[in-house]
């Protein structure tokens, strides 16, 4: 039994062969009512097959197409350039390249978003250390390592919040960064070294706080152990000796002048009697009527015994002050006219009018007259070592300052300025 679709298809074939609609309907009287409208519609549709474009329409169409083709060839559309890689590489190669790019992008994203415990977390830790490969400055390297240590500490906290476990990878990386920071800080100045140690100790504190708050015993043990290691690193860093001074570096004046001590020796062991008695004869300036010994060029040319310690040979203050024993011959030296670098230094040294060789007192300085001596700064108010003449301005230094201001003790010593 044929269904209507098959009967319709057979009727259409008969119509094509030349039968009429009535003939077909007569063949299938039971389906005639249903077939009639369909066959009439088919007859209308068959009329369309006779239609064609006229020659004029065809020619006009061809002209339009030529113009369109000329436009396309004259301006290479963006689509051509877009599909040019396809022509060069072929679709499989292009698909592989796109897949590779996608893989790289997704991998980078997965590594960047990884958290402690993830498979890619170790990769992230390693990748984050990559910038250190191009940091050569010790200070910057120590800072970068401390920054990484803090990131690992944050990772540890994150892992504790999520899984109540201390991630071993993060803890190892933390200790590694702390060690590296300490290693880099070993070559720094003491202040910077101590700063690094302090930051490592901050990490220790945070680790201990986490260990105290975490509920898991295993995690707490790991945190405590890591804190212990970090503390050891910090302690060792604090205990390290400061690095030797670089000879290339300009040495601080304070540390390079050991000759300060004579002053303290002078002030500590005041012998006012000796200085008071000696001063009138010693300073030639005073012989000219000046109440205060005034050094001058003339004075520099006179050879006098020099009690000042030689700057080229730093010695303990005592030895420099007491080379002349009673009765010992005094070796006259050229007066250090150029050795007083600053007025302040000269004030403290005071009237360095040296005792005459005939005098027995080996006092280093000849004190001003009693009236002036009373204005002499007290030992306690004496200038600190920093105010002492610099070695570079020692005796014989041609670049030294003129001596005319050196010996005269000022009426008002200003210890505070010199002490600052």
């Amino acid at each position: 039994m044929m269904n209507v679709a098959e009967i319709l298809d057979e009727c259409l074939a008969r119509l094509r062969r030349g039968e009429t609609v009535g003939d077909c309907l007569a063949r299938y009287p039971d389906q005639a009512a249903e077939l009639a409208p369909m066959l009439e519609a088919a007859a209308q549709l068959r009329g369309l097959a006779a239609h064609r474009l006229s020659p004029a329409q065809r020619l006009a169409g061809q002209m339009v197409l030529r113009a369109a083709l000329a436009r396309r060839t004259s301006r290479r559309s963006a689509a051509d350039w877009l599909f040019r890689p396809v022509q060069w590489m072929g679709w499989p190669a292009l698909a592989a390249a796109v897949a590779l790019c996608l893989f790289v992008v997704l991998s980078v994203g997965a590594v960047a978003a990884s958290r402690p415990g993830d498979l890619t977390y170790s990769v992230r830790v390693m990748v984050e250390r990559a910038p250190l490969l191009v940091i050569f400055d010790a200070d910057a390297r120590a800072s970068a390592e401390l920054y990484l240590a803090e990131r690992r500490l944050a990772d540890v906290q994150q892992a504790l919040q999520h899984s109540r476990s201390a991630d071993a990878t993060a803890l190892r990386a933390l200790i590694r960064s702390a060690e590296a920071a300490a290693g880099a800080a070993g070559g720094l100045a003491e202040a910077e070294r101590l700063q690094v140690a302090a930051r490592i100790e901050e990490h220790v504190t945070q680790l201990e706080r986490l260990a105290a708050t975490v509920g898991e015993p295993a995690a707490a043990r790991s945190l405590v152990e890591t804190a212990r290691q970090a503390r050891a690193i910090a302690v060792q860093l604090r205990a390290e000796k400061p690095p030797a001074l670089d000879p290339q570096r300009p040495a601080p004046t304070e540390t390079a002048v050991p000759s300060f001590t004579p002053t303290s020796a002078l002030t500590a062991t005041p012998q006012p009697e000796a200085t008071a008695t000696l001063t009138p004869e010693t300073t030639p300036v005073r012989s000219h009527g000046s109440p205060v010994p005034q050094p001058s060029r003339d004075a520099t040319t006179t050879r006098r015994p020099d009690l000042r310690p030689r700057q080229t040979e730093p010695r303990p203050p005592v030895s420099s002050v007491t080379p002349l024993q009673p009765g010992a011959p005094i070796t006259p030296t050229i007066r250090p006219t150029h050795m007083m670098p600053t007025p302040s230094a000269t004030r403290r040294v005071g009237p360095t009018a040296v005792p005459q060789p005939a005098t027995v007192a080996p006092q280093p300085t000849a004190e001003p007259p009693p009236g002036i001596a009373t204005r002499r700064p007290e030992p306690t108010a004496g200038p600190p070592a920093t105010a002492q003449p610099r070695p570079t301005e020692g005796p014989g230094d041609p670049g030294g300052r003129p001596p005319d201001i050196t010996p005269g003790p000022p009426p008002e010593p200003r210890p505070t300025r010199r002490g600052g």
């Binding site: 679709a5 369909m38 064609r52 369109a68």
Partner: protein
């Protein structure tokens, strides 16, 4: 009525790549092969000979513009290219009807016409009305039903040819043909007032 010459896979495989490279002779050969087919399809869709001719030209202009991005299916080259071309024509027919609907709100002048092959004005008028009703009825079909009707009655293909063209089975083609003619007969009777 002469059956249109079927287009072979070899022709399409030879012509399409040349057209993609901008070969003018290949473009014109493709136009000669497909122009009447596309014209009849568009005539059935829009019911107006002049509009169908203009739209046919527009179909091939779009073909030139889009051919560089066309990927030819090597398994069924003629069928895939033909389907692609008819899809362009179908989109243009839809655009035409949208424009026409907008224009009808403004003017009632537009009257689709079939080619005036008969000098008798009554016959011409009857053709106009018939084409108009057919185009409107075809608008109500699905695209698959429309393509089966075009293949069977405009291109005069056999069931197997239509099946190969559309990538369907012969049974599916018969079923689509039945439903399409059922709908067309109902719609045409309604519009004719029977």
């Amino acid at each position: 009525m002469a059956m249109p010459t079927p287009i072979t896979d070899d022709q399409v495989i030879s012509l399409v790549p040349r057209c993609q490279r901008g070969d003018q002779a290949a473009v014109e050969t493709l136009y000669m092969l497909y122009a009447d087919r596309i014209y009849r399809y568009l005539l059935a869709r829009v019911g107006d000979a002049e509009q169908a001719a203009d739209l046919t030209t527009e179909v091939f202009v779009r073909m030139i513009e889009r051919l560089p991005g066309f990927w030819l299916n090597r398994q069924r080259p003629a069928a895939s290219f033909s389907a692609w071309l008819y899809r362009i024509a179908g989109n243009l027919a839809v655009d035409y009807h949208r424009r026409r609907e907008r224009l009808e709100h403004v003017s009632l002048e537009a009257e689709p016409t079939l080619p005036a092959t008969d000098p008798d004005p009554d016959v011409v008028a009857e053709h106009h009305e018939s084409a108009q009703r057919l185009a409107q009825a075809l608008q109500a079909l699905s695209e698959d039903q429309r393509l089966v009707i075009i293949g069977k009655f405009v291109e005069e293909m056999s069931n197997s040819e239509v099946a190969a063209w559309l990538g369907k089975t012969e049974g599916a083609v018969k079923s689509l043909q039945h439903r399409a003619l059922q709908a067309l007969g109902r719609l045409l009777r309604i519009t004719e007032g029977i």
